[in-house]
Point group: C2
Chain length 81, copies 2
């Protein structure tokens, strides 16, 4: 079963990488950009009988290792089509 985790900096945290990319794109002529944030995507393939159990396990992985709960939020898409 495939699952996807999106990990993003929390709203209040300054996203330095995102600001740099936004400025670089503005310099290339993309003046329509209002905001840009950069995060991580983790795509997993795991053995699991049912999607609910898999999502629970993936959430555990996020809390224990994948995301930093102080600075990051995460969302889980499980199962992926």
């Amino acid at each position: 079963m495939r699952a996807r985790v999106l990990i993003r900096l929390k709203r209040g945290i300054l996203d330095v990488q995102g600001s740099a990319v936004l400025r670089a794109l503005a310099g290339l002529g993309y003046a329509e950009l209002r905001e840009l944030r950069v995060g991580k995507v983790v795509e997993l393939d795991l053995d699991a009988a049912d999607p609910t159990a898999a999502a629970v396990r993936v959430e555990e992985m996020c809390r224990k290792l994948l995301a930093n709960p102080v600075t990051e939020d995460f969302s889980i898409e499980c199962p992926l089509p």
Copy 2:
């Protein structure tokens, strides 16, 4: 209008970060993992009248700056709900 870009290493490219995370999770007892790959997510907020035009602009940004066409694939979700 909000859009999301997922940027991942191409299939044939060794994902060192993903391998390290997979090993760390296996060490924590997550033996059900078969594969894990780490990529980037870029979330954008841009001024655009219609979703098709916005998607075209975002694809241009990917080709010019966001993704490395030699090593990375990208996919665009536009508009985001």
